[in-house]
Each structure stands twice: as C-alpha cells, then as structure tokens.
C-alpha cells in the first residue's frame, strides 16, 4: 500500500490527463474522504463525478489495500457502466505500472502486493446486472439459473396468466380504479392500456415495498384492489414456477437473499460500495444498499444530483437522496453518520450556458424546498467563454421552424458556418460533423398521436428529417417512429403476414384490438405493394411465388413441407429481398427488435413462435398465436428498439433523442425543442409544460402512499408540486448537456408578451409568473421583453 498523501501525486504522475489538470480541491476531498464514514457526494452537471468515483475506488485499492473484487460500483445504464469500467481499467493499469516502475524503497513485499491486484476484478455494472450475476453465481445446488424476462414477455405473461384468468379484461370495477392513473381520467380505452397500467402497479408493489394487505383493505375500489392482488399473486406464481424474474422481482429476490444471509460468500468479501446516480434510486434499491452496508460494514459512497432526477415514473424517489444522511443514520444507527461533499465546478459548458441553467433551476421559488438541503452552491463554469450567448430560434409554426433550423444546421456543418454576434459557429475543421450536435425533446416521435382515420400530424423531428434528407443528410432517430410505422418494417412484416395467413383469413377469427388490426392490415398492404414491385432477387423465383408457396404450404424445393417451421427463419428469408435489413446499421436496430420479439415469444407463446403443418387444428392455431402473441404486440407498439446495440452512430447523421436518453451525455451543440408543438394553450398538452393537476404518476404515488413506508416522505410535496418539480428537472438536464452552444427552438407564440402558453421550459414558475417579461407601462409589446436568449 501507499500512504494517502502519495495517492494524488501518483495519479498526477501516472495518468496523462491529470498531469496538466489535477483534481480540484472539491474532487480531492471526495477522493480522500475517510472510508469509514459514509460519503454523500452532490455532484452538479459536468462536475467530474465519474472521475471522482473511479479515483476513489482506485484509492481504496492502492491506499487501503483492498482488493478490486472487494469494491462494488453500480450505475444507471449499461453505457455508463461501460465507461466507468473503461476508466477503472485504463487508470488502474497506469497506476499499477507506475508503481511497479517506481516502487518505494525498503519494502520487499511491495511488488508481491502489487502483483496481487487484478484491476479487472472490480465489480461494476447496473444494479440489475450485478443482482442477476450474483443470484446466478451464488445459487443453491439444484436451483435453476434465474431467467430474466423483458417487458414484452413480462406483459405477455401478465396478460395471459394473471389478468385474463382474473377477468380483468371485462371488469368495470378495475376499469374505474385504473381511470385514476390515465392521462385524462377516463378508463383505459383498450386492454393494452389496461395491461400497461397494471404492469406499472405490479412494479410499484415491489419497488415501493407496498404492504399488500393494507393496499387491499383501503376503503375505495375494494373489488379492483382484490383483483389486482390476485393477479399479482398469479403472476408471481407463474414467474416463480419457471424461475423467471422481471427486473423488479430480480431486485426483490436479491434483497431477500441478502437478508437471509444466503449470499454470504459474496457479502463476506465486500469492503466498499459506490453508487452512481443515487437520485434515481427507488425504495427497494435503497433497502438493498443499506442492507449491504449493514451486512458487510462496507464503506458506502453515493453520488447524485437531486436536480437531475428524471425517473419518478419508474419509482425513483429523489427524497431518498436528499434525505440520505438522516435515513442512513435512522436505519443504521450503529454506523457512522454520512458526511456530504459537493462538486460544483462545471468542466463541460461555457459560462453563458452555466449561467442560463443556474438561473433556470433557481427561477421557481416553489421548487427550492424540493432541492437538497442545505442548498448546493451555485455551479461555477470552469471553461472559457466562446462569446456565443444562449440562442433561441422561434418561428410562427413548426414548418417554418424546421426550414430555418435546417438552414442553421447546414450552415454550421456543410457550409462556412453561421455568424452570431460576430462569432462564426462552424463545425470542427478536423472532422466535425452532424454527430457533434443533437436535438433533445420531451418526445422525439415523428408523428403526433393519430385520432381516427385522419393522418397523424408531422412533428418537428419528421419535418427536420425530410428537410435534411433534401440536403443529403440522414438523421438518427430510432425512437422517433414506432417500429410498426417504419416503411421497411411494414414491408417485412406485411410479407410475413401474407405468407402465413393469406388475406387475413385467420387473423379475422381473432379478437384483436382495433389498433392492432389497423396496423396489421396496413402492413399487409405494404407487403403486397412491395411484392408487386418484384424486388430483386427474382431468380429462380420471385418474392410473389415465394409468398404463394407459403400460402399454399407447397415447398419450392420439392421436399415435403416440414411439420414445424420457426417464424424467425421465415423472417430471415424475407430480408433477402430487403437490403436495408442486411446492410444498414439502423436497419439492424429494427431487425433486432423484431427478432427479439419473435425469439422471446418462444418463451411463453404456446407454439413457441413456430408455424405447424399437418397437425390438424394446431396448424391454424399456431398461425393465430403467432399473430396474437408476437405480431399484434408490435402493431400495438409494445416493443422498444434498443439502439445501444449499435457500437457507433454514424457521425454524418443528425441525432435526435429524448431528454431522458441524454442523461449523462454531452454534445458540443445542443438544440432543445421546447415548444414546436404548442400553437395554443390546449388542455391536452398542459401536462408537458404547465400542469394543472397531478399527473398519473403522482396520482399513483398518492394512492399508494398510505400503504408503504416511503409514502409520507413523498407527500411532503403535493402531487401538483411534484409534477412541476419533474418538469423543471427535465429541462435542467436538457440545458446542462451542451459544451459550446445551446439553442432553444419552438413556435414563437410561446414568446409573445401576453402568451397564454405557459411553459416551465420558457421560464414560467408554478405560481403563474413569468421571468421572461418585465412590467411595461402602457400597451404591452408583442414579444416578451426579458428573454435571456439571443434570438436568431
């Protein structure tokens, strides 16, 4: 081991990036903090929290002499976990090599100790990935390996094994209760919505550690509550019988095993636990961390930023972070009281951007009690100014906005730049491209919701896609369109549908929801139209004859038609006619989602995603199940794409993502769509900008509050206050992503001095006042007169 006083000099000597810029005093305090006292780090955006976490972990190894395998580090996403691990390995190996080359004198055993350090053995990952691995590794003899099921499978099981058997699909009491948790307060319009809300409720049972008996005995909606409890029990039983777990049950099982002591071989070895993004922890996860600390006596370090808590809808509870010292000491009075350190130096953004988001987060006095106390000091910019103020581009409508935003982007990335206040904003001459920018929005859907047969309205992402395409620029927006709406997906699935079920003869015998039927039929039309183009290859036969052979179950090879045929194999054959799925990285994202859906269907669908032949009634039934269990969920948008399978997003594409997705990311140029949708003060979109009532998420929190320990703490803020809090945090995250340029975009009606369109993102506060205007004498101007943006 080395003395603590030598650690930071070692870091600066061994790791090139710290030779010019050593950790700042705040970071040093976090790194050097006594490991016997729990540490809470409140880390503002861009303040180097990952750096601090990694150096603290390495300090525990090189100074305290703990082995890497004794240090557990969790973070929120796979991507963040990969980055954390990359730094641990790179920096850890550099420290080790430096020490090996410069050993302290007089210590013969030093090299042996150094050799014994295996940097790869830090335990890192998301909490879920670590739970899964530990439950697999430390299971009992003859206990099966737990099988983790994803949302689509979990919902399929929930519907088939729990909700249908309990008559949830035609229970009016349940519908009345669930109406509390829909956006407009009306009962779920279809069974798909019912399943979605029931799924959220079942997850909440687990995440919030709800007292089920208390929930069931609540005074209102007794029949609905009983039905939900019965469904939850049936779901649990089915999952347990197949050793299946969803993410909530995985964490719950892990906590149970921890408490039982059956993970002792693991806990005996843990000396330190470091948790990133603690502001998005839920009560179950808190219980896991506190139990770990209790069972192991491990040194606990948590890092987070209450202002960046985004995941309330998944059960995240920012109060667990804000109240961490108190909660820890109450729960574990025999352990030292946590101490707090703040990281407030921002290394990411220009002073203009930092000032903008600092003002934004302090704008609403009603929000301040929701923040960590005592207040975190103001974030301080560490980067130099580039002279560019925070920009605004607002136009009378979305079309004009898309036109001018496209011109701005083309100027910056394809022409000589755009001059603003004498500064030319231009792509980096050394390979700068569209990948250096991003469009962030609450949602990046390319179409608005469809009502009836009217074609859906094109939103800003779609308008931008079309305009950029005219300049030869593609966008990367895999979440912008539902899988079901992507033309190539429609062609693939349409051909597949026509192959297995010509003209929907069997589909017509199914009781499918209208939404599914509408899209299945649209796919069929797209598939038939595609077949009619006679796509290549057309030798030795055409796609049309291939489809006909399938429809007649007559083999084109002369062999007998097989008894069963995997749907996935048919899918892979059809893509022979669709090069998009063979060669385009974005096509792979969509194909993966479809293939995953078919493969996972095999885990719960009766005919295991195969099409039977020569087995009587089962032939037709296998087609029906394939449509009902696999294709209908895609048609109802139950399947999410996973763009993380792409190792790189091509840099010449313009990326768009939701603000939630951007958490932890940074871009040189960030465009935030604050109001491209809002041309009027429509009640339907108020929840996204200036809520008048608690959202469905807050309603569920309030309904559950009497039945779980976390309830009272959450209710220190009203449901409406929590709705505002979430919006403020959302746009704070968006505004703190850019490095050099922040550009807000939207419709200019939001900027009218007397606009009726109130929006948290444009400086409105929850009490109805607006910071972007100042009082005027006489007639008010058209445009707000205190806008903190340089409008272009």
């Amino acid at each position: 081991m080395i003395p603590l006083t030598d650690f930071l000099p070692l870091v600066c000597a061994a790791i090139p990036r710290f030779q010019a810029h050593a950790p700042n005093p705040q970071q040093q305090r976090c790194i050097q903090h006594d490991p016997t006292t729990p540490l809470m780090i409140v880390a503002g955006p861009g303040s180097g929290k990952t750096t601090v976490l990694v150096l603290r972990a390495l300090r525990l190894v090189f100074v305290e002499g703990w082995m890497p395998e004794q240090v557990l580090m969790t973070t929120f996403t796979r991507k963040a976990a990969d980055e954390l691990r990359a730094r641990l390995i790179e920096w850890g190996l550099l420290l080790k090599a430096h020490l090996a080359a410069n050993p302290p004198s007089g210590s013969a055993s030093f090299n042996n100790w150094l050799d014994s350090i295996d940097i790869n053995r830090f335990v890192t990952g998301t909490l879920d990935s670590i739970c899964e691995e530990l439950l697999t590794t430390f299971r009992n003899p003859n206990e099966p390996v737990p099988v983790l099921v994803e949302g689509f499978v979990g919902n399929g099981i929930l519907a088939q094994r729990a909700l249908f058997p309990n008559q949830a699909h035609n229970d009016q009491n349940l519908a009345a209760y669930l109406a509390t948790f829909t956006r407009d307060g009306s009962p779920p319009p279809n069974f798909g919505e019912t399943v979605e809300i029931c799924r959220t409720i079942l997850d909440r049972f687990v995440h919030d550690m709800v007292d089920i008996a208390s929930f069931q005995s609540a005074g209102n909606h007794p029949q609905a509550r009983s039905l939900l409890v019965a469904a939850a029990n049936a779901y649990r039983q089915y999952m347990a019988d197949g050793s299946r777990m969803d993410f909530a049950l995985l964490e719950e099982t892990f906590l149970e095993r921890l408490r039982q002591g059956s993970l002792q071989r693991f806990t005996d070895n843990v000396r330190a636990v470091l948790v990133d993004e603690y502001q998005d922890t839920n009560p179950l996860q808190e219980a896991i961390y506190l139990t770990l600390a209790d069972r192991t006596g491990a040194s606990l370090t948590i890092v987070g930023d209450d202002d960046q808590s985004l995941y309330r809808f998944r059960g995240a509870t920012v109060e667990l972070f804000n109240d961490f010292p108190t909660r820890f000491s109450t729960e574990l009075p025999h352990l030292a009281t946590p101490q707090r350190e703040d990281l407030t130096e921002n290394y990411r953004s220009t002073p203009e951007i930092v000032e903008f988001f600092n003002n934004f987060i302090t704008n609403d006095q009603g929000f301040q009690p929701a923040r960590v106390a005592p207040p975190k000091p103001t974030i301080v910019a560490n980067r130099q100014s580039n002279g560019v103020p925070v920009l605004g581009l607002f136009r009378p409508n979305a079309t004009a906005l898309a036109d001018d935003l496209t011109e701005f982007l083309i100027d910056v990335f394809r022409r000589g730049g755009r001059i603003v206040d004498g500064h030319t904003i231009v792509a980096n001459p050394n390979g700068g491209d569209f990948g250096d920018s991003v469009l962030l929005a609450h949602t990046v859907n390319e179409f608005a919701a469809q009502f009836g047969a009217t074609p859906p309205r094109e939103r800003l992402p779609k308008l931008l896609r079309d305009r950029l395409a005219a300049h030869g620029v593609d966008v990367f927006n895999p979440r912008g369109r539902f899988l079901r709406d992507i033309p190539q997906v429609q062609q693939l699935l349409g051909v597949l549908l026509e192959c297995i079920d010509q003209q929907g003869q069997l589909q017509g015998q199914l009781r499918l929801r209208n939404e599914a039927v509408r899209h299945l039929n649209a796919w069929r039309q797209a598939g038939l139209a595609f077949i009619a183009t006679n796509p290549s290859p057309s030798h030795p036969h055409t796609l049309a004859t291939f489809a006909q052979s399938w429809q007649q179950r007559r083999s084109q090879t002369g062999a007998e038609w097989p008894n069963e045929w995997p749907l996935l194999e048919l899918c892979f054959k059809i893509i022979s006619w669709l090069p998009f799925f063979q060669d385009d990285p974005e096509g792979q994202v969509y194909l993966e989602a479809i293939a995953r859906c078919v493969a996972q269907g095999a885990t719960f669908s009766v005919y295991r995603s195969t099409i039977l032949r020569g087995q009587g009634v089962h032939d037709d039934n296998s087609v029906k199940r394939a449509i009902q269990d696999i294709l209908a969920p895609i048609a109802e948008s139950a399947i999410e794409v996973d763009e993380e399978i792409m190792p790189h997003v091509p840099r010449n594409r313009f990326p768009m993502m939701t603000i939630h997705q951007s958490k932890g990311l940074e871009f040189p140029l960030v465009i935030v769509d604050v109001s491209s949708d809002y041309s009027m003060n429509h009640p339907r979109n108020r929840f996204r900008r200036f809520p008048e009532a608690p959202s469905s998420v807050q309603n569920m929190e309030d309904d559950f509050a009497p039945h779980c320990a976390i309830g009272p703490l959450r209710q220190t803020r009203t449901g409406l206050q929590r709705s505002f809090d979430d919006l403020i945090r959302l746009y704070y995250v968006a505004y703190s992503r850019p490095e050099s340029v922040l550009l807000l975009v939207g419709q200019d009606k939001c900027l009218q001095h007397r606009t009726p369109i109130k929006h948290v993102a444009t400086g409105w506060t929850s009490d109805g006042t607006w910071a972007w205007i100042t009082p005027v004498v006489g007639r008010s101007p058209g445009l707000a007169n205190n806008i903190p943006l340089r409008l272009i």
Binding site: R121, V426, F546, E592
Partner: protein, 392 residues
C-alpha cells in the same frame, strides 16, 4: 467559433473468448449479425445441446459435492416423459431430476431440443458424461464455472483502422472446471490423472489443470476447431494466472462429450479421419474396437466401443507452458484487432456487408440464418450469385 468534436465514449471493449472470438473465427459476417446486432438464431438447437450438457455436469457436481454421503456412481437416468409429471419417487441425483432443472431454465430462455430424438440423445450423453467422467473428474474439482477476466493490449499497426476505440480490450471467459491437482493425491486409476501424466511427464508439486466440456465430437486434427480448442485452453490458462492465489496451470483438458456416445455421423467422420491420418486417437489394430470401427457402415448399429477407447477419444490433454500460452493469446489478440478494424470501418462507411468477410466452413454456412443473402458463402470463391431463397 469552431465547435469541438464530440468526445468518443471511453470504452475498453469486452470480449468473451467463446462467445465472441471463436464465433468471429467461425464467420465474421455471422458474428456481426448474431453478436453485433444480437440477432438470435432461428433454431437454437446447438445452443440447447451444449448448454444442456454443461448444465447437467454442473448440476451433478454441485449435488455430488454437497451431498453427505455422496451418491455412488453410476447415477440412474429416468428422464421425465414430455408433457407428463416426473416419475414418482425419482431420486435427487437421478440425471432425469437434474435434467429437468436444466431443461426448465433453457425452456424459459426459448431454447428447446429439435426433436424428442435429440433430447433422448442428450440424456444418453449427459448420463455417460456423469457416470463415466464424473467419478474421475469430480474429486479433482477445486472450482466450477470459474469466471476469469484479463486485460490485454490490442495489437497496433496494420491491422487496426484509424478509428480504433481503444488500445486495450478486456477478455472474459468461464472455465468449466479448475482442478487443484496433486498427482500423489489422486487415485492411480484416475483416467484424467493418467492422461495428464502421459501428456505432461515429469510433473511434480501442486498445480492446476483447466477442464472444458465440449458438446461436440473430437475434431479432426486438420480442422480449425482442433487448433482453436488448444488456443482456448491456453488462453484460459493465461486468464487464470491473472487471478491472485492461483497455482501454476500446467495443462488443459478438453472433454469431447459426444465421444462417450457417438452417433452415426460421428463414426462416418471418424472413419474418414482414420483413413486420412487426421485424428490422433484411433483404436489399436487387432482390438475389438478397431474391428468394430473398420467394419461399421452407416446402415449398421452403433458398435459398443470399449470404455477405454471412448474415454481416450473424449479426453484431450494440452500441455501448457509460457511459450504456448503466449502463442495462443497472440492469436486471439489478432482476432480482436480484426474485429475492432471491422467495427471501425463499418462506423466510417455506415454499411455492414463490405466490412465483415464471410468465412464459414460448409457446415456453418449450411446452417446459417443469413446464408440466403450472403454474398460469398462457402466455398468463398467469389463466384456466388445471390438468388431468391425457396419456401419454406
């Protein structure tokens, strides 16, 4: 004001020895689809068989090592009849009991045997593996399913494109069995000990031997899988030595489970390899095994080969030293460099096909889900014309 370039994600790419590197060697384009894009195979039959054998062997060892007294070999095998309840009164160490647990896990993952015959055959092989290898192997096991990790440098230079993600990579593996062997401690009739002694004469002291189950036959010495099997255990040995408190690894043992209960296609291959001198274990001339093999034809019943011959075919010992380890790890370093180059060139070009070269053997291509649009399948002569696939 020139915008900066977006910082690339810091990443030390992680590779699994079997899941990534051996898959890439099998066919880089197939690897791109299955591993890069996470496209599942349409018929995960081979996955099922391999994982079933591994699962039964692991389950059997767990049971054997925690039971008091240990159930004597041979263990019975009464598989559950499909769609029926398990036979009443079946013993916990019955291979059928262990197999039920493994099958249940695989089923929940969507992995099922191709047919009842496949399933029956898997039980036969698993039972032989437990009863014929278990008595020798289980007493030697110090750790099962041992996870090993190490970091290595990605070779720089010609094979790496300009946009490489990292100079390092992290290599992961799971060693099926680590044995903690003292030669004097194992019974003299222990066939694994004997095989190790024969392959590595002069060993003394305490050391480790790595064992890996293979749900396949012993490959011909002229097949790429022969060399790749050796690289695999050599690299496992290197990974094992990264772990603190590990003993020197002197040998790797590959257990080709299918050799314990060969089927017709195995014997066809064996006879061909025997004739061409492409296998290292053949029956001695004049023995009943030799007669049985030389006179066998595909229409005949599978001969009852002697246990000695079947074990000799099943057990392959690979001596390990620093030189052989360095050679094997270098082979895999180059594989990683090739993968990283493919990743980089694809990222620059925004297209997949031109940058991942199809290279599967005949068997791999015949079973490949992407064969219908592959531009250059086996025999990879550049003459292939993509044609429309046939229904079904």
């Amino acid at each position: 004001m020139a915008l900066s370039r977006k910082r690339e994600n810091e990443i030390v790419p992680q590779y699994s020895l079997t899941g990534d590197l051996l898959s890439f060697l099998r066919c880089s384009l197939q690897y791109r689809y299955h591993n890069g894009s996470a496209l599942p195979p349409s018929r995960p039959v081979q996955l099922w068989f391999g994982e079933f054998i591994h699962g039964v062997m692991e389950g059997a060892f767990r049971l054997w090592s925690t039971s008091q007294p240990q159930p004597p070999f041979p263990w019975p095998c009464t598989p559950t009849t499909p769609r029926q309840d398990p036979p009443p009164g079946r013993l916990p160490h019955d291979i059928g009991t262990i197999g039920d647990v493994v099958e249940g896990t695989l089923r929940a993952q969507g992995k099922n045997p191709r047919s009842y015959d496949t399933r029956d055959n898997a039980y036969v092989r698993a039972t032989r593996a437990v009863n014929e290898l278990g008595p020798h192997l289980f007493p030697l096991i110090a750790a099962a399913e041992e996870k090993v990790i190490g970091t290595r440098a990605i070779p720089q230079g010609g094979s790496q494109g300009p946009g490489a993600r990292s100079t390092l990579y992290e290599l992961h593996g799971i060693i099926d069995v680590v044995t903690d062997v003292q030669l004097s401690g194992a019974a003299t009739n222990n066939v694994i000990r004997q095989a190790i002694q024969n392959a590595c004469p002069g060993l003394t002291g305490q050391y480790e031997v790595i064992v890996d189950y293979k749900g396949s036959r012993r490959p011909g010495t002229n097949e790429p899988y022969w060399a790749q099997g050796e690289w695999q255990v050599q690299t496992y040995a290197w990974l094992r030595t990264r772990q603190p408190q590990s003993l020197p690894v002197v040998a790797g043992v590959l257990l080709y489970v299918n050799e314990l209960a060969p089927v017709s296609s195995d014997l066809v291959s064996l006879r061909r390899e025997w004739a061409n001198g492409n296998t290292d274990v053949v029956p001695a001339n004049g023995t009943p095994d030799a007669y049985a093999l030389s006179t066998w034809r595909p229409s005949n019943a599978i001969p009852n080969f002697s246990l000695e011959f079947r074990l000799a075919r099943a057990i392959r010992v690979i001596p390990i030293d620093a030189t052989s380890q360095a050679n094997a790890t270098m082979q895999f370093d180059n594989v990683v460099a090739n993968i990283e180059q493919c990743v980089s060139t694809e990222a620059v070009a925004g297209a997949i096909n031109p940058h991942w070269t199809p290279c599967g053997d005949e068997e791999t291509c015949a079973a490949c889900d992407f064969r219908h649009f592959c531009r250059d399948p086996h025999p990879h002569n550049g003459q292939h014309v993509v044609e429309a696939p046939a229904a079904p």
